[in-house]
Symmetry: C2
Subunit: 798 residues, 2 copies
């Protein structure tokens, strides 16, 4: 898509130079604005044409029954689906009675720019009506990072030649008519008209709608106020109906005259608060926005982003596309999380309805690692959201006959919404992922209050889960059977290695945290016998390994399964899950996404360098990357094992996932985890950032092992650890560690301890290590940029 | 139920001496009449009260969409549900305007008798209306074995004291109102009004209805004619509506006078034939029935059953309950299959709507083994039904990426209707079960024409399935991964032993049959390379075995899984699947039903005696018998390993499954496979009947290893093999082999060849072998008659 001629490559913005109706839905996703609480898809101001109109509030969903042709004990009975809430962005335009719909008349010029530094989406257009009148339209839009309920639009229209009569209709719309969704009457029932009107109001330039969801019973409100500037002929009127309120502004515009509308919108919701409370909440937010004014909101936005970029920016020299993509990625990751405030981060953020708006393990395993080191203030609230769902997770564990807590595979409000248990309930690793995220957050933030409170709760309940889920065999080895790891082309396996090493970390971290906080541990009923049981299970954890092949097994016996026949798999049969049954995928050696490779990323100290190289090569040959969660992990291990060309190719694939629409579903929303993966591929991959287990009494510390692929001449990134801001500036032969802010810091450079202090940058050479032959991928599944049959030397062969 | 005081223990009938409304639905199942083509539940003549009214035609179903909250490639999109067709058994009665409904007034006497020798269900009642008039009612009912479309009712009513006015309404009813089914709107939609009226007709005593199913498009017709006998006051009139036709007969009856109605009903259906064709078909069948008359039909019925019992009867001395139960079982197995004629045998026969009327592997693995040796003429047509579904099975294999044919786990018309693939699609053993049934049928019938035609097709396509489903490991061992065996508390396992040994038989049988019929094999594209590949795979088949424990593994690694915690499992938590999630059942050592034990039954030569004893003891401790398919298999292995008291207990459990309603769902229909299992427990268990692999050129032969438990003083059974009728008469110390009919026969008696000729019975002693300690079952799961803590000596212990 970015390669489409209508998109340009620029370092600090995403610019679309003409409107391409075929790319409309994708463009709505990439141009989406959000602060993690309110999300507006990048729909055209006029509402139509659209791919999918959308305004979302984090946490607002409708519940619907989950159907089963053959039910089973413990299957979730109802699902949750994120709904399109009251849409506040619509500003319709009529020019001499011609509705401005860019499918009609003639579009002379159309440009949209999303600026990553200002956080504003700008648009300019010149359009000739079917009647022949030409107008210039300019709009700007923001969803405020500083006032979390607020979004705002500036809409301007002026004639190019003769005089025109224009009418601008600014609306709040509930139960917006959505494009017909094929096939699934169940989802259609939810998405059709999910909102029940409670109140509608319009007076002068002010308007308000309050609704309630039918089953989940959430109250949703939106309010707006407007500033109108125009010539003397300008008049306005407003009206309200249950599902729409509308301010209509009319004016006769001569050349040189302009009608300008500034729209301040506030969104709010509550599952508990009364109608008057929600009403007042949105009215108050609008008043604050009006008081700040557009310029004030825009200035706050810029200031917020300046601070973000100062601590998070990544510079990439040598590949302008990647430079743009990595900033696009960081901007959207920030948008997904910045002001969520104890709500989940959905897999698509608030950019679309893909995956029903659910959150998965990617939040903790892909998004939070990035935020922990770039915007740590956004991390605690997400983990507190998980903590808020502990009662549901405990209840789920009880239902499953387990101790502790079993967090859901997919959810909005904390209830398990996965209807296919082998890939949902059985994927228990989500619990270890949450525990690890909590430990990581405490380590990089130093938030000990969190550790004592929410952190310990999370660690203890997940450790209890693992202890009850696993069992010892007659030789005393601890096994975790019947679980599903990250790779969704295997399921219900014995001793999934990723799960086991993550559970091991989880058990040890819980024991350590309980020891650090004995009073809290006692409150939770944790005694020395229990922590000893956790440590013992961790010490005897089964780690499947095939001695003959000299590689670790993804799960017990995995390497003895039949190999998938890649030679006989047509290239249009990917993703495999759309062309082959689970039964066939599960019983063969074929890997959807990094699983053992992710284990080597997450638990680097559990493998020798030689094992990493052999494992990586073995699983490369089996991994088809039918998941957007894979490429970034492969980039990291490719870099670590010295295959820098391959690491670069995977970095590009992760980075361009949405900009190039590599999975053909960017229309449904962005892949937030893959966007985070872009940063992971750069910082963890090329930067070699790792958190290494420290010695007793000496907390874990950061290490770097920087190394650049030939294509890149320089990579610079900044990470924040416990208030210290460290810049890592990597060149082809040398790396500079610069402490921008904070107390001196010891880090590892390729294993060597290095002390960095403010004003005293340290330079170190980049060692060039020989790597073996470049691992091969399944036929037709090389990463973009590396074509089949192309050897490392770059020469095509048969 | 049989232990309920209203049921008596008699050798040749099932008698209910009073009406118990709480047992109504169960009684409708046990009193159901069927010939395998038409099935009438044992509803009261008057239609109400009822548990579940039902009239079924084998093969008549409606199609409905299968819903999935999360869909997957290869999931069946629609299901099939057996529907209640036009009900021909209703004869309503009014006495002085009081509708005869036994819930009102006073029931002075009520008896129903199902006679296994006459095949007639008789009923007598004395009932006092709420108005105080007492009448005597007598009815008899049969579903004809000789005229497969025909059923008939004789209904008589007479006053006991004063004069009464009676009205008898004989009806055909379509879209009969059914009791509300909880929860499942999908099934309700199908079962509500599945029939669309095409024609209704009534004239004098004749009536007819023709309907069509809405989606599956099957035309269903019923016709009836009547003989009416009564005093001079007797009048009748008939009328028709789209869903009901009715003959109303009125009479004033003085004491000594009687109104008698004989109703001849014909049912018919077709997926292809026109309305006139179906109309004529049922009219013709009625005419033939009228011509035979009730007495004629009853005489044919008796004759048919006399022939059946002569070749199938089992005598049991020492346990009158079992004597009754085994005949009840044989009668219902015959009813399920006798005149199916190239239709399936549903799991519930035509006695109820349980399992949606689907057929499973139990047909081939439980029902056909019994019929092969007792009513072989019924077996070929069932296998020909499977053969007719080969195109669908081949298409299913293609969809799954496999060669050959993949027969459905559950079906009516040949399409896979299982919506949960781990327990459906993955249970590939159904294919080997079908192949084995074909081989068994050819062996005992000598039907070589079948072997050349349908038999070879079935064997070749199933062998091709196995060859493509399995693969060789680096050491050349052949593995079948990702499949589910008979035990539904495990799924998607590696090298399920039952599946592997059955697939091995299948591969070898296909290769042998192809060699015997080279011309047909060539037509099927089978060459020497292919048969060699089958034989090689069979020779290198993986057989999981735990050396440390000295037992075979149900599947690879099974014996290393965590043991189910039976001590902590409350007795009201059985069946486990209603109280624990699949995820937990699958990953632990807990067995729903005979799996490895069934392998030892089906492939006795694959295990040594010592292995059988150790395996049986090991799996006894894990098997909870939450399936009705288990007890009979456990009976067989208990007998074989010398645990005769245990074998007897399991025999009783299999035998009383429906009569005692042990699974609490006899209301939905009888467990035909468990009924067949009663015979298996007696003949294969106590009789020790096995089919042993013969040498080259010398076909398999029958062996017996008779042995009685203490409780039984004598067991006699008859089997038919290739036209020879052999009676085996087992006493405590001695067995007599009597050839009733046919050429001399060599059988094995406890391994010793014995030649039996007509008129020359052979007697042999029964060896008494010492057995080890009696295997123990999970806590609370001992078979009926053996209570927990009761040791073999009979003394309770703690």
């Amino acid at each position: 898509m970015i390669t489409h001629s209508c998109f340009t490559v620029e370092p600090w913005c995403l610019r679309e130079t003409e409107l391409n109706l075929d790319l409309l839905a994708q463009s709505e996703s990439v141009f989406a604005l959000s602060n993690g609480h309110v999300g507006w898809r990048g729909n055209l101001d006029e509402g139509e044409p659209h791919g999918l109109p959308g305004a979302y509030l984090n946490g607002v969903y409708e519940r619907h029954p989950l159907p089963y042709a053959e039910a089973g004990y413990g299957y979730p009975e109802s699902g949750e689906t994120m709904i399109n809430v009251t849409d506040g962005k619509v500003v319709r335009l009529l020019v001499n009675d011609h509705p401005c719909d860019l499918r009609y008349g003639r579009l002379l010029e159309h440009e949209r720019v999303l600026d990553f530094r200002t956080g504003v989406l700008s648009r300019t257009a010149r359009w000739t009506t079917p009647g022949g009148q030409t107008v210039r339209i300019r709009s700007r839009r923001l969803v405020s990072f500083t006032q979390r309920a607020v979004a705002a639009v500036v809409y301007e229209v002026e004639p190019v030649h003769g005089t025109v009569t224009v009418a601008v209709q600014s609306e709040l719309v509930a139960n917006e008519q959505l494009p017909h969704v094929e096939g699934d009457p169940r989802v259609a029932a939810v998405t059709g008209s999910p909102l029940v009107a409670e109140e509608h109001f319009a007076q002068e330039t002010r308007m308000r709608l309050v609704h309630r969801t039918g089953v989940s019973g959430l109250r949703v409100g939106a309010a707006a106020d407007h500033l109108v500037e125009g010539p003397e002929s300008t008049r306005w009127t407003s009206q309200s109906e249950p599902d729409v309120v509308r301010l209509t502004v009319t004016a006769d515009l001569k050349p040189g005259q302009r009608l300008r509308l500034v729209k301040f919108v506030a969104h709010g919701w509550s599952g508990q608060r009364s109608l008057p409370a929600v009403r007042d909440q949105v009215e108050g937010a609008v008043a604050a926005a009006v008081s700040a004014g557009w310029e004030g909101l825009a200035a706050e936005q810029r200031h917020f982003l300046d601070r973000f970029w100062a601590g998070a920016d990544v510079e990439v020299e040598g590949d302008a596309q990647i430079q743009q993509a990595v900033r696009f990625a960081l901007f959207h990751v920030l948008q997904a999380a910045a002001r969520g405030e104890q709500r989940a981060i959905p897999a698509k953020g608030l950019t679309g309805t893909g995956y029903d708006g659910h959150s998965f393990w990617d939040t903790e395993s892909y998004v939070l690692p990035v935020l922990s080191l770039t915007a740590p203030q956004a991390v605690g609230p997400v983990l507190k959201w998980r903590h808020r769902t502990l009662p549901a997770a405990r209840e789920r564990a009880r239902l499953l006959g387990l101790e502790g807590a079993a967090f859901p595979w997919r959810t909005i409000n904390g209830a398990e919404c996965s209807a296919y248990w082998p890939a949902g309930t059985a994927a228990f690793h989500v619990n270890a992922d949450i525990a690890r995220a909590a430990v990581r957050y405490v380590m990089v933030s130093g938030d000990e209050e969190f550790e004592r409170a929410e952190g310990l709760d999370l660690l203890v309940d997940t450790a209890r889960l693992w202890r009850s889920l696993g069992h010892h065999d007659p030789e005393g080895v601890f096994h975790i059977d019947g679980v599903t790891g990250p790779d969704e082309y295997s399921a219900v396996a014995r001793d999934n290695l990723y799960t086991n090493v993550m559970a091991r970390q989880n058990l040890l971290a819980a024991a350590d945290a309980a020891t650090r906080h004995p009073d809290r541990a006692e409150e939770l009923g944790v005694d020395d016998e229990e922590t000893a049981a956790w440590r013992d299970a961790a010490a005897r954890m089964a780690i499947p390994y095939n001695e003959t092949l000299g590689v670790h097994e993804q799960s017990a016996g995995f390497t003895r399964l039949q190999h998938w026949d890649f030679e006989q798999t047509p290239s249009d049969h990917y993703p495999l899950l759309l062309h082959y049954p689970y039964f066939d995928l599960y019983r063969k050696q074929v890997v959807k996404q990094a699983d053992l490779v992710l284990a080597m990323l997450e638990c680097p100290d559990a493998f020798t360098d030689e094992q990493k190289a052999r494992n990586f090569a073995y699983y490369e040959a089996l991994t088809v990357r039918d998941s957007s969660l894979s490429a970034c992990c492969q980039a990291v291990l490719a870099a670590e094992t010295g295959h820098l060309r391959l690491a670069y190719a995977y970095l590009r694939e992760a980075a361009l996932m949405d900009l190039e629409d590599l999975e053909h579903n960017t229309r449904d929303g962005l892949h937030i985890a893959s966007l985070a993966g872009t940063w992971i591929a750069v910082v963890v991959g090329l930067g070699g950032l790792r958190r290494h287990a420290g010695e007793e009494g000496n907390p874990d510390r950061l290490g770097f092992a920087p190394r650049l692929p030939e294509a890149l001449s320089r990579v610079v990134f900044t990470v924040t650890v416990r208030g210290r801001r460290l810049k890592v500036d990597i060149g082809p032969d040398e790396v500079r560690y610069v402490l921008v802010e904070g107390e001196p810091l010891v880090v590892l450079h390729h294993g060597e301890p290095v002390t960095v202090a403010a004003g005293a940058p340290v330079q170190r050479p980049v060692p060039h290590l020989p790597a073996g032959p470049e691992p091969q991928q399944p036929r037709g599944r090389r990463p973009i940029g590396l074509t089949d049959g192309q050897e490392p030397g770059g020469e095509p062969q048969d």
